[in-house]
Symmetry: C2
Subunit: 116 residues, 2 copies
Amino acid sequence: MKTSPSEFRFGRDFTWSHAEKAIARKAFNLALGRELDAVIREAKHRASKITQPSELWDLEHYLTGRRQSIDRTYDYRYSVLPRVLGDLIRKGRLTEDDLHGLSEDKLAYIHQVATH
Amino acid sequence: MKTSPSEFRFGRDFTWSHAEKAIARKAFNLALGRELDAVIREAKHRASKITQPSELWDLEHYLTGRRQSIDRTYDYRYSVLPRVLGDLIRKGRLTEDDLHGLSEDKLAYIHQVATH
């Protein structure tokens, strides 16, 4: 499907095959798992070093910030998924290889998001 | 100073000598320190056991709850301090011995709060 510039910009009108949905879901879950594992490691590290009460609230603040950021970032609606996947590549949570099998137009869109 | 029933109930009109303020401040800080030490121990214990992402947010929720509870409980205004000290005795964070040196009327008020 050839997309118009505005469709290309918003990424809303892509059609997802069953196979593509499976690829996207797997990549999405992979990135989310990496993100959460990193937060678990960091939270354990921070907790283990606490000696002062103020550091308790620093840990609370860190967890709240990570939860809110993850909630904002990991949005699986297909209307925004190409942008989300592009952002995850830019942030190093995914590689383009993780998305092998998506259509060329989606990969081009995702690549554009990832590199801008 | 003999207090009327309403003063006795609200505890607002006690007069605090310098010596009593020092005793109250020391006891208050002792209880707060014990409370915070317990939260530090519990947070380290909970963090060390985390294996699932949901437990991160359980830890966040625990810390938020403890912070809010401590903020509410540890109110050093002299107008409410007898009630606060009584509450801390009831919760086992202080003993009446920690308040040795306060006037008899304050100790009677605090005892009443602690045992009701």
